[in-house]
């Protein structure tokens, strides 16, 4: 891990929040339900943190917590992406677009 840099993380947070608001506001209302499940899946990126804790095996305690955390995140990743795609598959345009 790079050396702690509080301020660059604050910058990332600030900018990501701006991106988030702009991007989300442009999401078509039609797709607000899929949006919920997609952001779910994406924020399960938390898995990367848990993986290291589960894998570095520093203490039994941390390994257990890490493993459970990985499982929890993995659940969100799998179900989140699958259900989003399942919903999106259903959206189609009128054949002869009027």
């Amino acid at each position: 891990m790079p050396v702690l840099d509080l301020w660059s993380m604050a910058f990332v947070f600030l900018l990501a929040t701006f991106v988030g608001f702009q991007v989300i506001q442009n999401v078509s209302r039609l797709l607000h339900t899929p949006l919920m499940s997609l952001t779910n899946a994406i924020s399960a990126i938390a898995v990367v943190g848990s993986i290291i804790i589960a894998g570095e095996e520093k203490t039994t305690f941390s390994t257990i917590l890490g493993t459970v955390a990985v499982a929890a995140s993995m659940t969100n990743i799998v179900s989140g992406f699958l259900i989003t795609d399942r919903m999106l598959k259903m959206f189609r345009q009128r054949r002869p677009p009027s």
């Binding site: 988030g20 442009n26 949006l35 994406i42 804790i53 959206f91």
Partner: protein, 463 residues
């Protein structure tokens, strides 16, 4: 930095970019599915990048966890669309749990290795509190939606004081830890208090308010991911958390606006209670008819607008609606759907259901646009919608939904309304639309009633 670490970092950067693109592509149904692929790609990149990390000595548990997660995830993705709110609540719970556990683990590790800086302690405190609150809060929300937990608001005097008090203590303990990180006994206390607060926060909120609450919990989940990012100094986590958080916040704002209510009102208003009080409206007469009457009216119209609501969702009647749409369009009748932003129980609820029934999304018109056409519409068919077509929102200043934008079904030449009884809807109030002279009520379960209408239209059998 070792080359491996550079690779990891590069994968995180790529993941962040892909996640943003993924959400951008959701702005249009045409590109939406590409969005999912981008999301998957980003996730894969980040995971592979992490597995390369030198600190990892043993992959067994990771693989076990992957298998378990997949085993739970796949069935969870197969739930019927009406259960989507529950599923979302559950996944927030998992997200919160993960954040809480990682924070706990990190605390124990850094406590031993003595690397627990004040900044790290602060970040962990925020992560853990948000994480565990989201965990139990979301479980409660899911429980209420699945009606495992009693859905009616459970309230008692001074409740808000107690809740906020608990939160304050938890936060206080966290602050204390900043100065004496050694006194680890405080940590379990924080965990327990947070878990408890999560439960108590949701208890007083009516089951029907859960969708809004879920979106708020979504924002919390995002924030806890951000805090986790600060703890682990992981920028892709901060990015994804911020994206998640803003989405949760924006959706809950949209819902509150469309319901014309404030956050505080949703969180502390114990709204569901209104239901009890306002339910019994004085008995006025309504015109009630049969499926055949409805079919005749529809057949002889040239412009029809269908207003679906929560009732269509619970009755799973979207496929019948599609058949009616086909029957009418076959006759050259112009059929449109009026989609209210908060029809149903979650944002975009009607859109997914109608899409599931294979209806073209360009036939689904948003409220403001359809309201312009309604005065020239011959027949409006209301399918299990109630509050979103309640004219009281326009003129009755005393009504709890006064000011909420609605679909002006009452301005059409004729209205056919289907529901099972005269019971009120979500807001628990009477709807004068049903008593209007130009309104015909068809009582019964939406699926059954519309099924009969289709039969008549299809010309076979006569119910």
């Amino acid at each position: 930095m070792s080359p491996a670490e550079h690779l990891t970092q590069a994968s995180y950067l790529a993941a962040a970019a892909l996640f943003i693109l993924s959400l951008r592509w959701l702005s249009d149904p045409k590109t939406a599915r590409r969005g999912v692929s981008a999301g998957v790609a980003g996730m894969a990149a980040a995971i592979v990048g992490t597995l390369l990390h030198p600190d990892i000595v043993n992959y067994t548990w990771i693989i076990v966890a992957f298998v378990v997660g997949t085993a739970i995830g796949v069935p969870l993705s197969r739930v019927p669309l009406t259960a989507v709110p529950q599923r979302t609540a559950l996944s927030h719970a998992f997200g919160g749990l993960a954040a809480g556990l990682v924070g706990t683990a990190k605390y124990s590790l850094w406590l031993q290795s003595g690397e627990l800086t004040t900044f790290r302690m602060a970040a962990i405190g925020i992560e853990v509190i948000l994480g565990y609150v989201t965990f139990t809060g979301s479980l409660m929300a899911a429980g209420k939606l699945m009606e495992i937990v009693p859905t009616r608001p459970m309230t008692y005097r001074g409740q808000n004081v107690v809740n906020l008090g608990l939160l304050a203590i938890a936060a206080g303990a966290a602050v204390l830890l900043l100065f004496r990180p050694g006194s680890w006994q405080l940590f379990p206390a924080i965990i327990v208090l947070s878990l408890l607060f999560g439960v108590l926060l949701i208890m007083p909120i009516g089951g029907a308010d859960m969708p809004t609450v879920i979106s708020l919990l979504n924002a919390y989940a995002g924030l806890s991911a951000v805090a986790m990012g600060f703890v682990l100094e992981n920028k892709v986590l901060i990015t994804a958390g911020a994206l998640d958080g803003s989405s949760g916040l924006i959706l809950s704002i949209i819902m509150c606006r469309a319901m014309n209510r404030s956050f505080t009102n949703v969180l502390f208003g114990a709204f569901g209670q209104v239901q009890a009080s306002a339910a019994g409206g004085e008995a006025r007469t309504v015109k009630s008819g049969t499926a055949r009457d409805a079919a005749d009216l529809l057949e002889n119209a040239s412009k029809v607008v269908i207003v679906p609501g929560y009732g269509m969702a619970v009755a799973q009647a979207q496929h019948r609606v599609k058949e009616i749409y086909d029957q009418l369009t076959k006759r050259g009748i112009d059929v449109k759907f009026a989609i209210h932003p908060v029809a149903g129980r979650m944002p975009g609820h009607m859109n997914v259901l109608l899409a599931e029934a294979d209806l073209p999304y360009d036939a689904l018109i948003e409220m403001d646009e359809i309201n312009r056409d309604l005065p020239q519409t011959d027949v409006v068919l209301v399918v299990g919608a109630n509050d979103v077509v309640n004219p009281a929102a326009r003129h009755d200043a005393k009504s709890p939904i006064y000011g909420m934008p609605i679909i002006d079904a009452d301005r059409a030449k004729f209205v056919i309304a289907n529901k099972r009884s005269m019971n009120p809807g979500f807001a628990g109030i009477d709807n004068e639309l049903y008593y209007a002279d130009n309104t015909l009520m068809i009582f019964g379960d939406a699926k059954a009633v519309l099924g009969d209408v289709v039969k008549v239209l299809a010309g076979d059998a006569t119910p």
